[in-house]
Amino acid sequence: MGYDIVWHGRGGQGVVVAAHILAQAAYLEGFGGITSAPQFGPERRGAPLTASTRISSTTIRTVSQVQKADIAVVLDPSLMRIINIAATLNDGGLIVINTNLQPHDFPAYAEYAVATCDALHIANGCGLLKDGSAVVNAPMVGALARASGIISLSSLEKVFTERFKGVLASVNLMAVNEAYVATILKKRGE
């Protein structure tokens, strides 16, 4: 059993970190095979960027880039205008979008499960900011956890508590929890 997850965002949004956090949480969840990698090459702030996480119950031997994902997580919805994310999804896949819209507002993705979460609003509300900008990667990991069911909130809490200390840990956890609760999932064909 396994999942390939691709994170779509822009340089500086914490795409690689989100993929890493998911990898750590999945490992805690008991998946023995994990890889997590950025799209290979140079990274520029603001430029479109992907990272991928492979999760499997057995050791992963493949190290090539993910071509088709089971789940796409979109940190910046403006990317959906320039990247055909549906073309990178396996049949029956799931797309999780950072947006203030609802799943039924994405009719182009009717063939897929669609989850939405207003991570920007949640990050701002929790004061999860870096250099004055809202950090959306942590709430989107929470949204992914809720929409996919692959990882539990308690595994995520462990990862965040190990990774961050003090106020930073509590602010991140607040955002993850709020996102988990606020995520709306529309299953395929609903």
């Binding site: 890493h20 490992y27 994990i34 890889t35 990698a37 290979f40 090459g41 140079p42 031997r61 190290v63």
Partner: protein, 402 residues
């Protein structure tokens, strides 16, 4: 029980170097190697690692610092990639000629012109004849374990070791890595005894001009000429075969992980078709092997870990029952064959193995190679062999060649 941590190949290499208690490190930034030396400089800055971190203006100087440090008996480490390795080329020879147990990570990257920051193995393979031991890793666990083994090997045979692994594909990909316990590493790799090269009580010249002939020194003792010194380096690399195997065995007993010494295999026993590969492309081949076997094709895999010294006899033994050999690799010897293919053909000359031989160059300059493409290549080769195309020139996988 050791704990697995999810980390990149570069993090694994840096952590291994720290656990080996390296004393001197000098390196110059180059993609995709840079995060190794960033991590090590953090270790030094925080006091976690008591080492001298020497900042230099080039890779040539980085290796020169390691040569000087190793000459006085310090455990020295550096890491580089591609043009960095080539810029230190003169000192790569010098380190081996001086018989210094330096360990260097080469995070494999293509070589310009034209510029590429992406992965292939042309950089380290082009340093084949410098007298270094070269070990190739297929995953991040092998990286941490191989760096630790590398010091043990280098210090046993007084030959530097290059630990090679694929840039980005491993250096920037995170996977679970079991971190050995420091006490176990300390017991496995005791502090380096001083080399005795430099001794104020016994001052002497190091690496003076040596003549073609043997001649007596000032005490009347006959000393080696250049050729004897070269013969000794060659012999040390030959002897290193046994040492690499033995160190791997000892490591497996202590740490519970066996990476195969000179080479490893996967479903190779009694396999009729044998794939040979080196580094991450060998790992990527494993799911292809699984898929082909599920279709009833009797195929297995041999992963070459030591490129120098080349495991000639071991390769012959592993390939003895093969009915066809297919090589997959990320380096080409321009105007001839794939680099690993050349070595294998030379190793098989004079043996009883006279079977169809196909080779593929793949993934140059970071072109993605996935298991499905490898499976298709093997299937295609088997079809060609059945049609009588027994030993074609090296194929260029997934490359427009018209």
């Amino acid at each position: 029980m050791s704990k697995a941590i999810i980390m990149t190949g570069n993090s694994a290499a840096a952590l291994a170097a720290k656990m080996c208690r390296i004393q001197v490190v000098a390196a110059y930034p180059i993609t995709p190697q840079t995060s190794i030396t960033e991590a090590i400089s953090n270790y030094v800055e925080s006091g976690e690692l008591k080492a001298e971190y020497v900042r230099v203006e080039s890779e040539h100087s980085a290796l020169t610092v390691c040569i000087a440090a190793s000459t006085v008996g310090a455990r020295a480490f550096t890491s580089t990639s591609s043009h960095g390795l080539l810029y230190m080329h003169e000192q790569v020879h010098w380190a081996a000629g001086s018989r210094l147990p330096i360990v260097m990570c080469c995070v494999n990257r293509g070589v310009g012109a034209p510029w590429s920051i992406f992965n292939d193995q042309q950089d380290s393979v082009s340093q084949r004849d410098t007298g270094w031991i070269q070990l190739y890793c297929r995953d991040n666990q092998e990286i941490i374990d191989t760096v630790i083994q590398a010091y043990k090997i280098a210090e046993a045979v007084s030959v530097p070791v290059m630990v090679c692994y694929d840039g980005f594909v491993l250096s920037h990909t995170m996977m679970p890595v079991v971190v050995p316990m420091q006490e176990q590493v300390d017991a496995f790799l005791p502090p380096l005894k001083t080399s005795g090269h430099l001794d104020t009580a016994n001052p002497r010249n190091i690496n003076p001009v040596v003549f073609p002939w043997r001649r007596a020194d000032s005490q009347g003792v006959m000393r080696d000429g250049y050729m004897e010194i070269r013969y000794k380096l060659h012999s040390a690399l030959n002897d290193a075969r046994g040492v690499i195997t033995q160190v791997n065995g000892e490591y497996a007993r202590v740490f519970g992980r066996d990476h195969g010494g000179l080479l490893w295999d996967y479903n190779a026993n009694a396999a009729e078709i044998l794939i040979v590969a080196m580094g991450s492309i060998a790992s990527e081949s494993m799911p292809a092997i699984d898929s082909l076997r599920a279709q009833g094709i009797n195929v297995g895999l041999i992963g070459v870990r030591a490129f120098r010294p080349f495991p000639k006899l071991e390769v012959r033994e592993k390939l003895a029952g093969a009915k066809a050999i297919i090589v997959l690799e990320k380096a080409i010897s321009y105007g001839h064959d794939g680099a690993l293919a050349c070595e294998l053909k030379a190793a098989l000359y004079g043996s009883a193995v006279r079977v169809p031989f196909h080779s593929y160059v793949a993934g140059l300059g970071g072109r993605d190679v996935n298991a499905k493409e490898i499976e298709a290549a093997i299937t295609d080769s088997l079809k060609q062999i059945a049609e009588g195309n027994l030993e074609p020139p090296t194929h260029w996988l997934n490359c427009r060649t018209e």
